[in-house]
Amino acid sequence: MMKGDFEVVHGAINLVQPSETWDYTPAGFPVPHHISNPPTSPTARPVLDGHCTNTDLSDLIMEQVASPFSEASPSTTNGFPMDTSALPTDNITTSPDEYRSRKAPRRVYERTVCGSGESRSSSKSLAERDHEHGLNMITLLLECAVAISTENLPQANRMLLELTQMASPYSASCAERVVAYFTKAMASRVMNSWLGFCSPLVPHKSILSAFQAFNNISPFIKFAHFTANQAILEALHQKERVHIIDLDIMQGLQWPALFHILATRADGPPHVRMTGLGTSMAMLEETGRQLSNFARRLGMSFEFHPIAKRAGDVDPSMVPSQRGEAVAVHWLQHALYDATGPDRNTMRLLELLAPRVITLVEQEMAHTGSFLDRFVESLHYYSAVFDSLGMSLPFDNPGRHRVEHGLLSREINNILAIGGPARSGEEKFVSWRMELACRGFVQMPMSGNSMAQAQLILNMFPPSLGYTIFQGDGTLRLGWKETRLYTASAWTTRPTR
């Protein structure tokens, strides 16, 4: 399986003209199938027809979901930690009827669920039924979240049983898919609570294949890879020995593209030492083999060091730095499982490594906080992600299902059922960017070239799909419509020139 993964990348790479500047190298993209035939007219938007009936769902849901709770829950809207332990729970136990009476969820569904695809004879009454169906689901999901947050688990369980009969993850409505997976995650949480215990079991292989599928059907992962690669390339300019440390390497999908550029740069290829952290030695070794093969084909001097530990558990002596070596640390965060362990230890490791560059790609969502905070944050976040997939792929696309079930559902499950990384009992930062700044790291604004990279990636997807780049605070963010989803930033231990 993994061999195949890499071969896809190789094939694409080989077609690319070597280029020093990187500005014009859309390297390594397997072009999504629906893009190979771009719509001839911008108004035609054929990819949308009958695929997804939702637009701007995330914004509307956020409006609905956030407002009832905003008085009660001190959220993390500014990215600053709030005292969640002082959460006044009795304010939240508003009677369910209060939510039911709100017009808000109705509005979400007026714009979203009505009219799902096929035209039918009785479409009028059917649309009404769908509409009511959607409305009931959203209301029930919110009530259920409140019940869980107030530890009323029997009631939550009853509502979850209802939801399991109502929401389908194969629906044409993206909102219904989101509800189905949130229901699954919350049911898993209720079970954990009843067992009095939770600890994730992670099927790494299936996650990797879903991750690969995500990389193929949406721009998010490519955005992360290419903006980070650009920042690393710039920071390692003219360095002869480089040490790249990937805190969560998975299949190392992003590195062939960087190697390719490094191998053809004007000042000659550097010696690359790479340290890959991950959970399984067997998979790390396989990744190392693939990367070594690739480097050899480029004629690049390369070593790979696998460490089957989480960054927060690594003894810094296991990652020795060598004299004259420029260190780059890369970290693409996700919410699938706790890939790095205690954040304070990870920070300590970074301080000791004193990297020339740290590239950080974060999900624009607070993983910490109370259950209700996380529920609201993640509902907002994943509604946007699901909508974006629904925009580009038909509802019965198997790849879309693989990503939603194998990847996004796992993240939702981890955030809600396991409780996010914080649930492991290990301390997590609310905002890594803020924490890095406090620790004396200096932000390196993402360069114009990084922006150009991000733009190149986006150009591979029709503008009608709604992906948007945001630039500001020296970061680059990729989002869908108005919702920011992934944020890339770069840091260094020293002030830049």
Binding site: L126, S168, L201, G419, A422, E427
Partner: protein, 539 residues
Amino acid sequence: MDTLFRLVSLQSSDQQSSFKSSRTSSSSRSSKANHHLFHQPFQNREEEKYREECGNNYHVCVDEDFSSSSSSKHLQPHPSTAATPTPSTAATTTTASTAHVLFELADFSFPPDLNIDFASSSSAAAGGGGGGWAAQLLLECARAVAARDSQRVQQLMWMLNELASPYGDTEQKVASYFLQALFARLTSAGPRTLLTLAAASDRTCSFDSTRRTALRFQELSPWSSFGHVAANGAILESFLDAAGGGGSPQPQRLHILDLSNTFCTQWPTLLEALATRSSDDTPHLSITTVVSSASPSAAVQRVMKEIGQRMEKFARLMGVPFKFNVIHHAGDLSELDLDRLDLREGGGALLAVNCVNALHSVSPAGSRRDLFINALRRLQPLIVTVVEEESDLQAASGGDGGGEEGEEGFLKVFRESLRFFSAYFDSLEESFPRTSNERLALERAAGRAVVDLVACPAAESAERRETAAGWSLRMRAAGFAPAAFSEDVADDVRALLRRYREGWSMRSAGEADDPGGAAPGIFLAWKDQPVVWASAWKP
């Protein structure tokens, strides 16, 4: 790379200890914080939140024995099991402080005595016999439930909860639906769970969704159409025989008492056959279909009304004089007053009774099943067709099965449910596309049946299937004699099966290695497992 799943949180001993400490009592928690490298004031708060979230103070109602037995028994993991770190000190002894906690901390590694192959996700391919990881874990879990080994139950349910998904592969689905049922059983919430599920499913049910599901099921799988073709063939032949011998100038009248759960999808082909095969005068056809459910819902009534209208329209199109009645019956089918139905239309009409998955919906309590079959016999029907799913889900074999079932009975029903529904899910998996809402509806219905079987008292159950041999005994006892299917009918069934993917086959009941042996009729088999039985009976 043989082990697909890895215990992330148990990869290193560091993690192990931090995990454990986050669950133990408050005193040990603070002591951990003392030698924590970066002790901060809010460390405790984090853990407090974790504990609070973990919901240790969630009360569940289980019987006293169950919760108290947890303190005595611990699993003994083998000290050196590859890839499963063994937490030797996992057994806590804080019995005093855990009075309100259902389970104590078990060791959360894979039970070393379980040799589970997670890599073979398609283990059901060997006939859906349920030999995959889901069946192994579930069976272990059911055994632990029966043995009241609460630590092992907790350990296995945790694993199942982590691995299961109603939207994943067959193994994950089976795990998910059976886990739901076990959860309902352990929280003594079986009947309540079933009621909630059924009510929610009824609320979302519409004519369109019902029709789409039934038609798609017929289109992609012979599971339901097999019985339809066999039963229609038998009904038609017996009617033509009887009508042909009569020699009456009047067109014959056929009345079908339809006890089935397949929403009249059986009848269009019969109407067609009547229209084309009867020589002169097309007979009058009346169908009285009985919709029986524990609690009748408005949605189902709407659906049946629309079905009736469409049936009438179709009959007009075919030129068959037709009458359609729907009887909505609340409660057990055995309580239906058959004499009140005007099945003879004032005399003269020939009566056929069509039972598709109807007999197993009669409660196994007392002798209701025998009484009901006797009542059918008193109707003096021309023919009775019986189509049943082949599975032995009686708690006590041979007996009336309605009594209080013991642990033995629970285990037997659990094992057999697992076998049967694994095969069902496997056949759905291979017949339907991955993202089919129709398949999801069928799976959810099966999930409700599993809750009924695993978590509800047998006496109230509507899902206790019996084997062909078992039903045959009951039919014979009531004075029915088997009517063999003709070669024509068998040919029709074979032709039907050719329309579907590989894996389906027909076999006559005599060939099947069935302990009863003496069952008449034919089986539909999926990967060599008999799954549906069709038979015809005459008084």
